[in-house]
Structure formats: structure tokens, C-alpha cells
């Protein structure tokens, strides 16, 4: 169910449209379009990282894949499940808003933020472990070879950039959840937050096999 089918019956109880839009449906369509354009830029932003990964893997296949075996596949998989579940709660929140189910909306938003925070906690623990195992390029780096250095360089950069996006999402979604407990539902905002969150999840869907499943065979 897309936002374009949003019924007008919500118009009275919800916030009025912002300028220059004359009704909520128009504003929601515009906001979603704007967020899709922004996600397009994010595809290219992460794309630069994926390109760097591909080239490093292309140049030094053996040590690259050897190094990839050192990532913690269990923590990675757990985090993937956490993030996929947060996408479930997010989509219910967004579509629940169309149904006017305020309580469902803010609880699911809060759950999404909480799961996101859980992801970051697990990731933090994983980082601590990686540091303990000397998997940071530089002095004392535990794995040999150019490919290994590049792999872990990219591992740290790619997961950090993703984590920053996730953190921004968690903060904004938690704030929205807090506001939605008492204020009228902000109908144009919800699909926008949803799109961003699903995108961050989708990036992880690609990061997981590239960083955790590589070189396992």
C-alpha cells in the first residue's frame, strides 16, 4: 500500500500540510520522492566503497579472501537478523500510520530504534573483539599480505560508515517515536523515515556477504 492511496479522512485530526503543498497526500508523495532521490545519492556514496572493495579483491584475491575469514560470522549473522527484524517493525509502523493506529505506530517505531541500538551494541562488542585480535591495519596487524591490509581497512571503513548512518537513523526514529506518543501522526514523515531505514538495512544485506561470507569455502 503506497502513500498515494492515503485517504483524506485523516486530514482533520493530523497536522496541516507544509508550504507549498495544498494537501497531505501531495506532501507525502513529494516527501517520498525527495527521499528516494536522496537514497539515489546514498547508492553512489556507498558505491564508491563497494568499488574500492571490488578493486582490492581483484588485485589481491588470495590474501584478501584469507583475511576475510577472520571476521566473526556469528556476530555478523546475528546482527543481520536484528536489522531485518527492525525492518519488519519499521514497515508495520509506516503502514500502521495509514490505518491511523497511533499506538501501534509509536511502539513499532520504538522497537525499530531499540533493535537498531542493539545492532550498534553488538557491533561495538565486535569491534572490541577485532581490536583485541589485532585486526586493525597498522602496527601489530595480525594478518599478512597487501590484500589482508586492504580488506580490513575497508572492513573498518565500510562498517563504520554504515554504523554512522544507522546511528543517525536510530536517533531520529527514537525521537519520532517519542513525539508520536502524544502528537498527531505526521503522515508525510513516516514513509520518509521508513525508506531511509530500509535502505540502511539493504546496504547491510550487501555488506554481510562481502565482509563475512567471503573466502569461507
Amino acid at each position: 500500500m503506497s502513500s498515494a492511496t492515503l485517504s483524506q479522512e485523516h486530514a482533520d485530526s493530523d497536522l496541516p500540510p507544509s508550504e507549498p503543498w495544498s494537501n497531505i497526500a501531495e506532501e507525502t508523495e513529494a516527501a517520498s520522492f525527495g527521499m528516494w532521490l536522496f537514497l539515489g545519492t546514498e547508492v553512489l556514496f556507498f558505491g564508491g566503497l563497494f568499488l574500492s572493495y571490488t578493486i582490492a579483491r581483484f588485485l589481491y584475491p588470495q590474501d584478501f579472501l584469507e583475511a576475510a575469514r577472520h571476521t566473526d560470522i556469528y556476530l555478523g549473522a546475528t546482527n543481520t537478523i536484528v536489522l531485518l527484524t527492525s525492518s519488519l517493525t519499521m514497515v508495520v509502523a509506516v503502514r500502521g500510520a495509514d490505518l491511523g493506529a497511533r499506538r501501534l505506530v509509536w511502539i513499532c517505531l520504538a522497537a525499530t530504534a531499540a533493535l537498531g541500538a542493539l545492532f550498534l551494541t553488538i557491533k561495538g562488542f565486535e569491534y572490541w573483539e577485532d581490536i583485541r585480535e589485532h585486526l586493525v591495519p597498522g602496527r601489530g596487524f595480525a594478518v599478512q599480505g597487501f590484500g589482508a591490509t586492504l580488506f580490513f581497512s575497508l572492513y573498518w571503513i565500510m562498517t563504520s560508515v554504515h554504523a554512522v548512518h544507522l546511528t543517525v537513523g536510530v536517533i531520529l526514529i527514537a525521537r519520532l517515536a517519542w513525539l508520536m506518543r502524544s502528537e498527531p501522526l505526521r503522515l508525510p514523515d513516516l514513509p520518509v523515515y521508513g525508506l531511509y531505514w530500509h535502505f540502511v538495512d539493504t546496504v547491510w544485506i550487501f555488506l554481510f556477504p562481502l565482509l563475512y561470507l567471503a573466502g569461507r569455502a
Binding site: 507544509s18 507549498p20 513529494a30 525527495g34 545519492t41 553512489l44 556514496f45 564508491g48 591495519p137 586492504l150
Partner: protein
């Protein structure tokens, strides 16, 4: 949403809505969401950065009058041309026409009351300005010596300077570009007034749309490249470092993937301006409107496929070089189409040489020279000879300065009455335009010659046989500086002078922006116009000029 078409004249003063310039308070300007006010804010900050970059230019040209260098050490000179490049590219040229005139005119030209996301628009300006201050601080407190191109491994491993601070500032400003791009695309898709179909859009609007596509597809790649520089320099995580298996050329691929489209960001809006001005002062429909539209979009798109032509001598595979060279020849075609069509637009026109027209015609000539020399550079053997010489500098200055800055001044003079409600002294304006044309050629043509003769770029100490040409160039630069300063002076003067009030449509132009008051009211139009005809309807096909505004009904 739309009402009846606007009639010929505006009602009496008693009924006139308040101009957008009427201000309640200074603070209201800093919290405005009115696209017109945001455009004015940009005009102020962009002019500031133009002055900073020009100051650097003056110092550079002075330094180069003597073969041994006059007043600067090698290190200081490196920081100076870096400052000049960074400020002029990111804080002057890239925002100039889109952020000032795009913001002001886009909603007016399509018959809307504002852009799609007004609050995001204000955020855009703050990001641009804050990023700019950040970068300025980095460049002045210690400086950056890598050149605006930040090549690795110099920038990540060996450069002494504020590379990280500069990178952070440019990163922040990048979001300003992205936000503007998103805003413009959504605005053009969703807020066109009744009757304003895609192929009735003025070419300036198409230019804003095309440049917005480039903004959103290219800028993020610059952003991630800056992140990678920061990761390598700040956290020691190698990506480009050859000692750890990294490839410095990867930096160049990523950097130029953005920076070549960036030069199209700098030229597409200028082309939009020129189309508006030439049609008006030749009193002609534009020749080949559809081809003009497709050329704008083609330049935007094909511009993404040519970045490797900056890397012919970098050590990149020569086969890749051939691919990029071929596509670089192709990208010249739509630009050439535009030049032919502007020329053809003049045919049988009733041409008058007001100052905007002088600047626009100057654009066509100077852009053509710059563009043709680009074709020379697309040929790999020629590029091998002139790469990193003054030939390259002359090439891109012909396009960016001879082209874009001329168009910026054309836009400034053409729309000044609309934005400020004031006219300006036409004789001074014509003088400045002509002075600029001569000063420009005097400055930059010698650089083609001295570059071809072998003078490298980014050097302040050079063989004495080049001095004559360098002194010529610096002399020309003084004339050029005067020509740029003059309009800033007399235009500012008109703001404080009561006598130069402008009518709604001083030029008798056909765009929707001219069918509202000068300056426009806050809500742009009393009643949103409905469009009945194609743009530039200065005459019936085959007949003498008889300008009909886009929203006038057929007689």
C-alpha cells in the same frame, strides 16, 4: 490550484502585495524559507567567496610577473593556488548560478509559489556557508598545499597542512549541493503550473534540472572519496597507499568521477542563462528548442563517462585511455549543437546590444574557444604534450571564467531589475562587459601560448623566456579584475538610489518571471498563471517579432 491568466498591466499601488524584500527584521532573513530570500543570502556569500578567490588570483598573477618568484616561497605558493582552486570551484562557481538564480527563478519560471522543500532549501544555504567558513579557516590557518585536486599519496601521507579540515568542510558543503539538486528535481516534477508541460519549460529550467541530476549523482562520490582520504590520513587505514598495496589511481578514478561532472555543473546553468538572454535580445524563438533540451540532458549524462581524460598520463591503462578519449570527443557534440543553435537564433533577429546580451555573446565566443581546446586535449598525443601545463589552465579558464562567469554577469544584469526592483546605468554596464571581454583574452590567451611552449602549471619559478607572456597575462588580469569589480560597484550603488526603479518587464521578455512585479511579492504571483504557449514566443514563426508572454492567451 490555478486561477485565470494574468492580464497585461499590474493593478494600482494601493492593491500591490508587499515585495519579498520588505523586511520585518534582520533575523527573519536568517530563518526565511522564501526561495527568493535564500537566493539573496547565497548571492551575498557567493560574492564573498568570489572576492576571496579573486584576492588569491591577484596574488598569483603578481607572483608570476617575475621568473624567480616575487614574494612567495614554494610552500606558500602551493597553498595559494590550492586556496584559489578550492574556493573558486566549490564556493564560487558551483553554487553561483544554480544557488542564486536557480533558487530565485525556478519557482517563478514554472509558475509555483516556492520550491518543493523550502526548509531544506534554507538548510542548503547554511550547509554551504558553514562548510565554506570551515574550509576558509583550514586554508588560511596553515593552509593546504596539495592543489584543489588532493591527489594521493601526497594528500594522505606527505602533505603538511590542514587536509582533514578542508576535506571536512568540502564534505559538509557537498550536502548543500545534494539538497539543492533534490529540491530542484522535485520542484520541476511536481510544481509546474497548469499548462506548463515539460516541453514548454524555459531552457533555464531545463538547465537547472540537468544540473540537479549531476548534483545528485556526482557529489556523493566526492563525499566518499573525502571520507577515504580522512580514513587514510587520520586513522591510518590504507586504501590508496602503495606501500600497503593500495592504488593511488583509485583515488584519481573516484575523484574525477565527481570532478569531471562538476565542470558540467559549472557550465550547464550558464548555458541556460545564455538561452534566456539571447532569445530576449534578438527577439527570436530559440532555434531548435528540442535539440537544445536534449543537448542539455546529453551533456549532463555523457559528462559522467569521460573522467579518465584527466588521467591519460597517470599510469592508467592506455586501452582505458582510448575509451575515455573517444567518449570525450562525443561529449563535445551536444555543446557544439548548442553553440550552432544560439548562433542560428540570432539570424533575422532584431538584435540589440544591452549589457546582458554583450555578456551572453561573449560567452558564446569564449566558450567556443575553450570547448575547441578541449577537443585538442581529448586527443591523447596532444594531451601528453600539454598535460599539467598552462595550456590546460587556459582551457578551463576559458570555459569556467570566459564561459560561466560571463554568463553569471549576464544573469546578474538581466535579472537585476526583477530581483531588486532597480535598473542600473546601462553605459557603465556595456563598458564593463566590453572591458571584461578584452581583459579576459589578454589574461588567458597568452597562457595557451606559454603552456604549449612548455611552462608547467603550479610553478611560480619558471624559465625567463616565458616572462613576456606571463607579464602580458598579469596585465590582462588587472584589466579583468577592474571589469569584474565595476558591476559590483554600480549595481550596489543602485540599491541605495531611489531613482532607478524598474518596471515589471524592462526587457519585454516572455518568461513567467516577468509577468509579476519587480521585485516579486513573497508569494510570487497574486494568482498562479496558466500557460498557453511555448517559451520565447517573440514572434509567430515566419513573422516579425511580437512578444507574447507565456501566460497570455492566444489572440
Amino acid at each position: 490550484m490555478t486561477d485565470a491568466a494574468i492580464g497585461q498591466g499590474m493593478p494600482k499601488a494601493a492593491e500591490e502585495p508587499r515585495s519579498y524584500l520588505d523586511t520585518e527584521s534582520f533575523v527573519s532573513w536568517l530563518t526565511t524559507t522564501d526561495h527568493k530570500r535564500i537566493a539573496v543570502l547565497y548571492a551575498i556569500t557567493v560574492t564573498f567567496f568570489f572576492l576571496v578567490g579573486s584576492g588569491a588570483m591577484a596574488l598569483i598573477r603578481y607572483e608570476l610577473t617575475s621568473p624567480q618568484g616575487n614574494i612567495l616561497s614554494d610552500e606558500a605558493y602551493n597553498r595559494l593556488f590550492t586556496l584559489h582552486g578550492v574556493v573558486m570551484v566549490w564556493f564560487f562557481l558551483i553554487p553561483s548560478i544554480p544557488a542564486i538564480f536557480g533558487n530565485f527563478l525556478l519557482p517563478l519560471m514554472i509558475g509555483a509559489r516556492d520550491v518543493a522543500f523550502p526548509r531544506l532549501n534554507l538548510a542548503s544555504w547554511y550547509l554551504n556557508f558553514i562548510g565554506g567558513l570551515f574550509v576558509l579557516y583550514a586554508l588560511l590557518a596553515g593552509g593546504v598545499d596539495t592543489g584543489w585536486t588532493f591527489y594521493t599519496p601526497l594528500s594522505t601521507m606527505f602533505a603538511n597542512g590542514n587536509v582533514i579540515a578542508a576535506a571536512v568542510g568540502i564534505f559538509i558543503t557537498g550536502f548543500s549541493s545534494i539538497a539543492t539538486g533534490i529540491n530542484f528535481i522535485a520542484t520541476v516534477h511536481l510544481l509546474r503550473t497548469e499548462g506548463m508541460t515539460w516541453f514548454r519549460l524555459p531552457l533555464f529550467v531545463w538547465a537547472m534540472y540537468a544540473v540537479s541530476l549531476v548534483f545528485i549523482l556526482a557529489t556523493p562520490v566526492l563525499a566518499i572519496t573525502l571520507v577515504l582520504i580522512m580514513a587514510e590520513r587520520l586513522f591510518g587505514l590504507p586504501v590508496f597507499d602503495p606501500a600497503n598495496g593500495g592504488d593511488p589511481l583509485l583515488f584519481q578514478h573516484l575523484f574525477w568521477f565527481y570532478s569531471h561532472p562538476a565542470v558540467y555543473i559549472m557550465i550547464l546553468p550558464a548555458m541556460g542563462v545564455v538561452s534566456e538572454v539571447i532569445t530576449c535580445f534578438a527577439r527570436r524563438q530559440v532555434f531548435g528548442y528540442t535539440f537544445m533540451v536534449f543537448s542539455l540532458v546529453a551533456i549532463a549524462i555523457i559528462g559522467f563517462f569521460v573522467w579518465g581524460h584527466h588521467m591519460f598520463v597517470s599510469g592508467m591503462s592506455s586501452y582505458a585511455g582510448v575509451v575515455f578519449s573517444l567518449i570525450s570527443f562525443v561529449v563535445a557534440v551536444p555543446s557544439a549543437i548548442k553553440v550552432f543553435n544560439w548562433t542560428a537564433t540570432l539570424y533575422r533577429g532584431q538584435i540589440s546590444f544591452e549589457s546582458p546580451m554583450l555578456y551572453a555573446l561573449g560567452f558564446v565566443g569564449l566558450f567556443t574557444v575553450g570547448g575547441l581546446t578541449g577537443l585538442f586535449l581529448a586527443a591523447i598525443p596532444v594531451d601528453v604534450h600539454v598535460h599539467d601545463t598552462y595550456f590546460i589552465i587556459a582551457h578551463f579558464h576559458y570555459i569556467m571564467v570566459g564561459g560561466s562567469v560571463s554568463a553569471l554577469y549576464a544573469a546578474l544584469h538581466f535579472w537585476w531589475p526583477k530581483v531588486t526592483g532597480k535598473l542600473y546605468p546601462e553605459n557603465w554596464a556595456r563598458f564593463a562587459a566590453i572591458l571584461m571581454f578584452f581583459g579576459f583574452n589578454f589574461t588567458f590567451f597568452p597562457q595557451f601560448l606559454v603552456g604549449y611552449l612548455g611552462m608547467p602549471r603550479r610553478y611560480h619559478v619558471y624559465p625567463p623566456e616565458f616572462q613576456t607572456l606571463q607579464v602580458m597575462s598579469s596585465t590582462g588580469a588587472s584589466v579583468l579584475a577592474l571589469a569584474y569589480a565595476l558591476p559590483i560597484v554600480y549595481l550596489t550603488w543602485t540599491l541605495f538610489n531611489r531613482d532607478w526603479k524598474a518596471p515589471d518587464n524592462p526587457w519585454g521578455a516572455t518568461g513567467l518571471e516577468w509577468q509579476t512585479s519587480s521585485p516579486p511579492p513573497k508569494e510570487n504571483f497574486r494568482a498562479l498563471p496558466a500557460v498557453h504557449s511555448a517559451p520565447y514566443h517573440y514572434h509567430e514563426t515566419g513573422e516579425a517579432p511580437d512578444p507574447r508572454a507565456q501566460d497570455e492567451a492566444e489572440q
